[in-house]
């Protein structure tokens, strides 16, 4: 579905990404870990077509997205993918409902039953009762669920999530993790998550680490054990 091939990007003399390649198939949760400034968000920016790499490209359904016009890439972002950010990135002047509806406004294929669809989505994400409130009156978990609702309102193929739980407590983080799993199993949506949270590795189908601009696959089981040991030793 999504092929990232030999992506290189430098800011001045600093190499951010070196020959990064990644294949994302349907119904997968992919985790990207790495230190701050390692290039995780930059990679998501490139996948979305909002940032252009120095070399390499991104294929969506075997089409090079950087050969598309800005309009086509915008449509691709609107209908093909959804975004979730650490700071929720909601429009503060809109209600939760309008925030969720917003991407659908720019989609000519939005069904005429969009209100009903949003209502189902709201039930699915447990947002009933807060839908007409403004973001400033919502809790962090509620805001993030509104952001996820907005990300999937156009039924995208995948979600790009940049530190989606970075601003949430443990309990809410667990809820959001469960939500991504439900999105995969119930709606068939793949998710690429850039995160520091080791908890995500448990649910990942594939995990990668970005270090010094290079992307390396992590052995999920060893990583889980290692992180568990680290957690144990911290407790001691």
């Amino acid at each position: 579905m999504l092929k990232i091939e030999n992506i290189c990007l430098s800011f001045g003399k600093r190499e951010i990404l070196k020959n990064v390649s990644l294949h994302v198939n349907e119904k997968k949760i992919i985790i990207l870990t790495g230190k701050s400034g390692a290039g995780k968000s930059t990679l998501l920016g490139i996948i979305s077509g909002l940032m252009k790499p120095d070399s390499g490209t991104v294929f969506f359904n075997n089409q090079n997205i950087f050969k598309w016009s800005d309009l086509k890439r915008s449509r691709f972002r609107n209908r093909g993918m959804g975004f979730v950010f650490q700071f929720f990135s909601l429009f503060p002047e809109m209600t939760a409902y309008d925030n969720i509806l917003y991407p659908a406004i720019f989609n000519p294929f939005t069904s005429k039953n969009i209100k009903k669809e949003i209502s189902e989505l709201v039930d699915f994400l447990g947002l009933s009762g807060i839908i007409h409130q403004y973001p400033s009156t919502l809790s962090g978990g509620e805001r993030q669920r509104v952001a996820i609702a907005r990300a999937i309102v156009n039924n995208p193929k995948f979600i790009l999530a940049d530190e989606p739980t970075g601003n949430l407590d443990n309990e809410t983080t667990q809820d959001i993790i469960k939500l991504f799993i439900r999105l995969k199993t119930e709606k068939g949506i793949s998710t690429i998550i850039a995160t520091h949270e080791k908890k995500f590795v448990r649910i990942a189908d594939e995990s990668y680490n970005i270090s010094d601009g290079s992307l390396t696959r992590i052995d999920g089981k060893n990583y889980k054990k290692k992180s568990a040991t680290e957690t144990q030793s911290h407790r001691v």
Binding site: S41, T42, L44, G45, S48, L50, M51, D70, L71, S74, R75, F76, R77, N78, R79, F83, F85, Q86, F87, F88, S89, F91, E93, Y102, P103, I105, F106, N107, P108, T110, K112, R150, D162
Partner: protein, 432 residues
């Protein structure tokens, strides 16, 4: 598709209403620009007419006007100024005797204090009204019933055309209907002439009241007062001149004449100039008028350009600030799938709508300013007495709106492009 369009328009309006206050403030300068433009166009037309009708008069190609030179040596082109210096009688006689000239008429001024007693819209007014005299023949073919402009029992009075405009202005302010020349023809009044000077004992004071009626209005002669037949001036001075021997009864202040052969104009001009007089011909008038208009035009154009540039820069700068303030919103829109074109387009439409609104407000502000200026300009600048500025018509409204839209949209264009080209992914990530 229609549903999609309606949804988009609804959201655009919602978006616009959210940002309207900020956008209105940022484009505020357009209002001044438009008001200035309307004022400029109204003034330009009126000033042109004023110069052409009131200051220069309407001379035919072979007509010349002879005036005294002022003390500074500059040619006198307005009677109000030339009244201070007069043409000596010997010079008048010499000019009258010149064979190259025909139809020589003199504009005279009675040198006694004179007032006009008139019922003006229900109120008796007695304003000071300097008395001027003109030869009857001067008006041949220029005004109706010109031959009746003669010394008779009820004296015919010719008023300057400007006085009709002033009267109509006065009437308009009080909500009264406008007067026409015909409506006022035959309107009665009294002329009070006091031949004795100030300081004369009341018992020795000589005051004469002459019954008069309005004959017509003229724009052919430049004078501020009332115009009577020269026959009356001469007779009056002959009879009553002895009342005050210290004052010359009347003075010649301007001579109008026709040159038989226009080719000899330089020669005639030289001859008359030697009498310490100045000669104005149609070509001089048109040259001076064009020079004056060029200066006025240039000045207004310069001010207009400066205001235009400053306005565009101010709007441009304000929009840049708006783009910075709204960078989060723009970035988020880009992430959600709004195209660059759409961001630029929406921003420009927003600016255009604001521009249109300011175009309308600016137009009416300009019309109001013009009216205000028209009423007050003669108080502020006395030399412009008689300048009536007609506000721009409604046909200008469309132009004002279009210009306003173009200015606002073009000032917003570059900031809009900035908005669509920001480092969006990073901006969204950083701004909470």
């Amino acid at each position: 598709m229609i549903r999609y369009l309606i949804r988009n328009i609804k959201f655009f309006i919602k978006d616009l209403t959210k940002n309207i206050a900020r956008a209105l403030i940022s484009s505020f300068g357009i209002l001044f620009l438009m008001a200035f433009l309307v004022l400029y166009l109204s003034m330009r037309q009126s000033v042109k007419q004023f110069i052409s009708e009131k200051l220069f008069g309407s001379l035919s190609i072979n007509e010349i006007t002879i005036s005294p030179r002022t003390g500074s040596g500059r040619d006198v082109i307005s009677t109000a100024a030339s009244a201070e210096n007069t043409i000596r009688p010997w010079a008048v006689q010499k000019i009258r005797a010149m064979k190259e000239l025909t139809s020589v008429y003199t504009l005279t001024k009675l040198n006694y204090e004179s007032k006009l007693n008139v019922d003006m819209l229900g109120k008796i007014k007695t304003p000071h009204a300097p008395v001027f005299g003109m030869d009857t023949g001067f008006f041949s073919g220029k005004i109706p019933r010109w031959e009746q402009f003669r010394n008779r029992k009820v004296l015919p009075v010719i008023a300057p055309k400007i006085s009709l405009k002033l009267l109509n202005n006065y009437a308009a302010v009080r909500g009264l209907p406008q007067f026409t020349e015909n409506m006022l023809t035959g309107y009665p009044g009294e002329i009070q002439i006091r031949t004795t000077g100030y300081g004369t004992a009341k018992s020795d004071e000589k005051k004469y009241i002459i019954q008069a009626e309005l004959h017509s209005f003229t724009g052919d002669v430049d004078f501020y007062g009332i115009l009577l037949p020269n026959e009356f001036i001469y007779d009056f001075v002959k009879i009553h001149g002895g009342d005050n021997k210290g004052v010359e009864g009347f003075s010649y202040i301007k001579i109008f004449a026709k040159i038989k052969d226009a080719k000899i104009l330089p020669e005639i001009t030289k001859k008359i100039s030697e009498m310490n007089l100045s000669v104005e011909s149609q070509s001089d008038v048109s040259r001076k008028m064009n020079q004056a208009l060029d200066v006025i035009d240039g000045l207004f154009l310069l001010i207009g350009m400066v205001i235009l540039i400053l306005t565009i820069l101010a709007i441009f700068n304000s929009y840049l600030i708006i783009v910075q303030n709204r960078s989060y919103g723009f970035s988020l829109k880009r992430v959600i799938g709004v195209s660059k074109f759409r961001i630029v387009f929406n921003f420009i439409i927003e600016a255009g709508l604001i521009g249109a609104l300011y175009g309308v407000i600016g137009f009416y502000a300009g019309v109001y300013l013009t009216k205000y200026l028209s009423i007050n300009i003669s108080t502020w600048i006395p030399v412009l007495q008689g300048l009536i500025i007609e506000p721009a018509g409604n046909d200008m409204l469309f132009k004002a709106v279009m210009i306003s839209i173009i200015i606002s949209s073009s000032a917003a264009f570059i900031p809009a492009v900035f908005a669509s080209n920001m480092n969006l992914f990073k901006a969204v990530k950083k701004v909470g």
